[in-house]
Assembly symmetry: C2
Homo-oligomer: 214 residues x 2
């Protein structure tokens, strides 16, 4: 028996109730990494916000980015980055997903999400943006580029990686970091959290040659 | 006993052997969704390539994007999109990760990855770019915007979603698609594949109010 399928075409998408449409479109990109972005404002207040849009931009130079929405609560994050040129990306482990999710609440400027949700700010070297002590992978970045996306007035914010801190035991033999070791969470849609297990690591793909498992 | 931690600073990153550095930086962004992007060229040949950089751009209008590297094999993908304005994004399920990974091999222009790796092209309506029949989530997109990233000469390619096809049973009650139901794979770094299980879905976060589990 053929599995029953649903097809939504452009005209159908316009008919879906707004909240359901947002949930549908947000779920299309699959598993997304869960990260907390830490910033400081010029009054030395710390801000912390969860993002599911952090992406790898390139290794040489080492760059990461995230999508900033124009109308979101995380706007504080962007304003602080513009003011200080610094931000941190902190991997959310499955043991603090609830605290991480709570940072999405619209706290006032005078309330620090660290205190409100019960996470601990920590510093490194002369870098002034706060890291999340509970995060096993803590990345320090300097603002490198602001890329406007005109289709929907969002912004791709790109940072250059200037520090990386993680448990020694999480280092794989090939130089990468094991996200199963540090139990990183992933997100689908807006609110659903997952844990993952490794199923395979493949060799570099070459034409007309069978892959081997590493 | 304190867990032993590693810290890499900017100057340390420059000392790491090139391949290890690429693996390290590629692993920082955590779990990434595994997708196959399908395109057609003006000679009606099909191209298929795996990407771990697909991201949600926005729901209104419905937009998704991916990062195109200047020097990669997936360049065919970008050339075809420029020529035809159309592409498809197909979620990779765990049961065909090996075939999906093999699309990264540098096949010649005359070889279609579909045939080379053993996946099946399928069409929908008047859309000319091929979908992957084996993929349980198939998304059709029209080129919406090409966003140059000057820091490293990459490109953010953005498409407007014009069709979405998936099994009816994968539709959650809130309108989103269940990636655990369709067994979508996620990738860390360049070559490591994972399966995920749901651990929690939280209510919309509000200040000074405890989250509930949905």
């Amino acid at each position: 028996m053929e599995t029953e399928t649903l097809i939504f075409r452009e005209e159908d998408l316009n008919q879906i109730e707004s909240r359901r449409k947002t949930n549908l479109i947000n779920s299309l990109s699959g598993f997304k990494s869960a990260n907390l972005i830490g910033t400081r404002n010029l009054e030395n207040q710390y801000n912390l916000a969860i993002f599911s849009s952090v992406i790898h931009i390139g290794a040489n130079p080492p760059l990461m980015g995230f999508i900033q929405r124009p109308d979101s609560v995380e706007r504080h994050t962007f304003e602080n980055i513009l003011a200080t040129n610094e931000f941190t990306i902190n991997a959310v482990s499955t043991n603090f997903i609830e605290k991480a999710h709570q940072t999405a609440a619209r706290y006032s400027r005078s309330e620090s999400e660290f205190e409100m949700v019960g996470l601990t700010p920590t510093l490194l070297d002369h870098f002034s943006a706060p890291f999340v002590k509970e995060a096993q992978l803590q990345i320090g970045l300097q603002l490198a580029e602001i890329v406007p996306i005109t289709s929907n007035n969002t912004i791709l914010v790109i940072g250059k990686i200037i520090s990386i801190k993680f448990p020694k035991k999480a280092l794989n033999s090939d130089g990468s970091i094991s996200h199963t070791f540090i139990q990183s969470a992933s997100i689908t849609g807006l609110d659903t959290y997952h844990q993952a297990e490794k199923i395979a690591q493949f060799s570099y793909a070459k034409p007309h040659q069978k892959l081997s498992k590493l």
